[in-house]
Subunit: 342 residues, 4 copies
């Protein structure tokens, strides 16, 4: 008998991706599926690609519906996870794909979200130096945001090896599923196809403090991040172009060596061969972050580009990876490094 | 009787867009259409959207074929325009959409192109401070590259108003037509759809020296540009996210005012209302650059985002705009500010 | 001073395309712009590509707002045009892009729409045999549906020449703008990109009776049409694959000759050269229908494929074409046969 | 130790999908990977999504390179498999994804391919009535074409239950990967994005005789198929809209019941709930065919729409499914019914 697992928010995109991964995982047994407005309908009406679960009826997202499971994945709008988790018991593994418990600094939380801080949970990014151990045996996991996942994985080797100044500029392109299934005019297919657009530019995107938190922790000093997200005409994927001022004397060889070292032994991180730059299609459906790095000597900047699937490694895959650790399972169990392409 | 006009490279994407604009222009009369490998075939086999010209037979690109016209537009691979122009006569207006005559610094040319410099022609970006007058009555025009068009238009107001330090980071997304009609595996639809990818990163893209040339001229000091181009799953459009370190004391209000001033009276530049960020779909088929700007105070950077149609304002539209000036016609003649959307 | 023109439904896709065409038309002067829920906002918030009109404030769609114009274009949900038109005066040209007045048979209307029939207006498809004269001087025009435009133009020559049996099967792919700007989950970019889907199959799509009406009128006998619409991952365009059983003895040469004859002199219809099949990109933004036809002798069917831009020739362009006729202007005025591609 | 498996044509799209599936299959061990022009390069240069195989060097496609394997998958241009298979030994399971051995009628082969017929192999579509047993223990498998897979699975229940007349019209939309990785202008991203186009219409597509062969076998009488393929702006997926004239007296209930019966127990066929129509995104990366069927009483036709992933169930997944049968493995082994969406 498997690990009884519930998914709250099962009719959304993150919930659907969790179910896709969980359905192929040898240890999890899928229990309650809950939803908000879609409660009472069949999963197949919203996630027709999940054939084996299509007939499951969605329950209302309540503590009662989620009770009696070993693991509960929350794929809910922010602000929802704290109260639910409080009623789930300390022995239940709660994996929150929302933002509520990612930030350690209440001031940063309040500045960007405008609500009281709900407290900090262990941050579910095992590849962040020192973080893997913090996830073993925890019963609360804050899954990183999709953009911070890409940016942190792209730049931590440069900061860990003291090759970068704390002056970071990031421009990232995301597929539309990153915005969820909300019915907003700018997310209509007619609007997004054939068009790339910027949004939340100028330092106001809510994932910014998560990036400064992660990179600052690795750098050992405050890091400023100028972050501009853009929306690209694709359903999935993030391509994050991350640049940092290079410290004096950094060489291309030293940079490449640092990345090689940092990624060694990491099953889900890949440094591409020299000359090959990432494309999001390389990671579709896979739990990988693929990275290339170069030194622009004329501009004095390190350029690291990462591709991730925002729903897989960027959300649901990362969530399962951390849950594997927390449950004492092999970290890679049920996760693939092979994408679907073309 | 109109201005006799030839287009060399008529079966490519830039050539096609030139013909689309010229066909709707009240003064130009379309004469010879030439091509390389496609010579001898009908235009409609390659440009079926140009109905009124579909039956025209493409000639070989030779000085003879191009002789006898008042204006010759060249949409050819780089290295081709110099020899052709030399045979066309000084009284013929030659508008080169290629790179050959854009750079003023032979060293930069040779570093990025690896061939001897062919000389510098007046640079066809009327909006660049001081440039409009240089285009009146010229008989040689070097049409700017598509990326430099977007980046220069996005950032020149900040430099002109002395609000920016010469430390620029640009990440731009381009539609695939920017790469032309060349048969390369990474340009196949199966590869590009659903995927954003980086390429020519790390300071090696050939449009980089054109950006430093333009911004340096406005700034009055050398400007470094870290430029990363990305390929987005769309046929047309460039979204350029351009950031520059802000000078001390710059305010958001001063920034916005500088852009308002710089764009005032420019028919093809638009500063969007506050809160509205550019999307490439706003400019499809139009000769406009639409820009939004913000100050990221925490990161200390100016963020200016520009959308242009790489084939229209970024190539063929810009070419016709400059040709209008050179011919003494109204600058806006035959050009539209209204895009096709959705 | 131009022809004073109002557009009701200006914040939608059909309304936006009407404005794009009207803004480039030499005779129309754009007056009131009205909307439903978007009344009180600026047009540029919804149609940022229409630069010259971006600052216009949308009024509520009322008879008062529309009064005082020579022409009123209605781009409204069905059921809205009848009452409005009744208050606009018989001397005002009312061009209805909605469905209300297209069908001549009240029974068909009620079967497919479930509401009382509002009466029939002259049908705005000038290329339909005999129809052009009916549009001259009319003050009421029912603009055809986008699918019926494509299907009728693709098949009328075969019926007019008595080459086809009244047994028609149509499968058409449409871009998402055909569904309008309504906020429905299946129209989200994340859902439509990378996917083709069927909908309203099995004879229930509301455009079906319009097809049988048009083709039956040309055939002089009842025609059955099996119509399956599909949604394709593009913003614009219809590709309609139309097949009809061939009458005994029909030859490919006779078929091609019939199409050549039927399209001769039609400025907006094009029969492609043999071997070239239509693509919707050939017609983007243009007022053209491009068609290819073949005889499948083994299957005994005529195959006619048409490409149109659903918003241009399929809605707004067709509307302006018919309005030109009604106003005594040249039929082609302000309309282009040249698409935007790639 | 696993079943030693070679893949010929590993750098193409079908080869890549075979490797994606084989890498996740518990019984196959991936041996030689061969290619044509790409021989000598690393797989990762062409299939960067296949991380665990990225460093493998491609060998030349020769009998020697393929020798010593238990199973050889051929993903080659047609005309190549016969000679290779002859040298591979009768005990080797050869699974040919090409067309060479699909047709039973040499005349049909020669009419559509223009070369001598290479002989017929057992047809790898286990769901075709009677076909499953023919695949057990065979050492030669002809994998069906992608379109015939979709069309046959969509219509066989109607013919098996004697509900359909032998008068079939099919229009199918395919993603661009169906055309392979060949460098042709019409397959460039700039051409296919934002556009649906028809090709090979009028009865000339080479998959047509395969459809008449399959449906005729089920019907017990010759079936005519009018087949029009279209190219849609997506990388993967086929949506096949298949219509057949209904026999007199057929009811919607009888039709639905026939499909329910025919699909019962088939792990990879799904009849969607009433009212839900297939989308190709429901099947991306999965080995499923999802179908909906309706009776259009006014037109007297059965409408069956099928979605498949052309590379998965339509090629590589179907190949592995049949190989499982031939090798005595569970038919579903290593294959998923869960797609990747959105």
């Amino acid at each position: 008998m498997g690990i009884r697992t519930a998914v709250a928010g099962a009719s959304g995109y993150a919930g659907g991706e969790l179910l896709r991964i969980l359905a192929g995982h040898p240890e999890f047994e899928i229990g309650a599926l809950t939803a908000g407005a879609n409660a009472g309908t069949e999963l197949g009406a919203h996630q027709p690609h999940l054939r084996s679960l299509a007939g499951r009826v969605l329950e209302e997202t309540t503590p009662d519906a989620l009770a009696g499971h070993d693991v509960v994945f929350l794929a809910l709008p922010h602000g929802r996870s704290g109260p639910l988790a409080a009623e789930l018991g300390d022995d239940v593994l709660v994996v929150d794909c929302g933002a509520d418990h990612r930030l350690t600094d209440p001031t940063a939380w309040e500045a960007f979200y405008g609500t009281p801080h709900a407290g900090t949970w262990p941050y579910g990014l095992p590849e962040l130096p020192g973080q893997r151990d913090a996830l073993r045996s925890t019963r609360r996991i804050a899954v990183p945001g999709c953009y911070p996942t890409a940016v942190t994985l792209a730049l931590f080797p440069a900061f860990a090896a003291r090759l970068a100044e704390p002056d970071v500029v990031v421009v990232a392109a995301s597929g539309t599923s990153g915005a969820g299934r909300s019915l907003k005019p700018h997310l209509l297919g007619s609007e997004v196809m054939g068009s790339v657009s910027a949004y939340a530019a100028g330092g106001v995107h809510r994932h910014t403090p998560e990036m400064t938190q992660n990179l600052g922790a690795v750098a050992g000093e405050p890091v400023t991040v100028s972050f501009t997200p853009t929306l690209a005409p694709m359903s999935r994927g993030i391509l994050a172009t991350c640049t940092a001022k290079a410290r004096p004397g950094v060489t291309a060889a030293a940079l490449r060596a640092a990345y090689g070292d940092a990624y060694a032994g990491e099953p889900f991180l890949g440094l591409l061969p020299e000359g090959q730059w990432p494309a999001t299609s390389m990671t579709l459906g896979a739990n990988t972050a693929l990275v290339q790095v170069a030194l622009d000597e004329a501009a004095g900047r390190i350029i690291a580009v990462a591709a991730v699937d925002n729903l897989a490694k960027g959300t649901a895959g990362g969530a399962v990876q951390s849950a594997n650790l927390a449950l004492g399972l092999p970290e890679e169990l049920g996760l693939t490094t092979i994408g679907v392409s073309p």
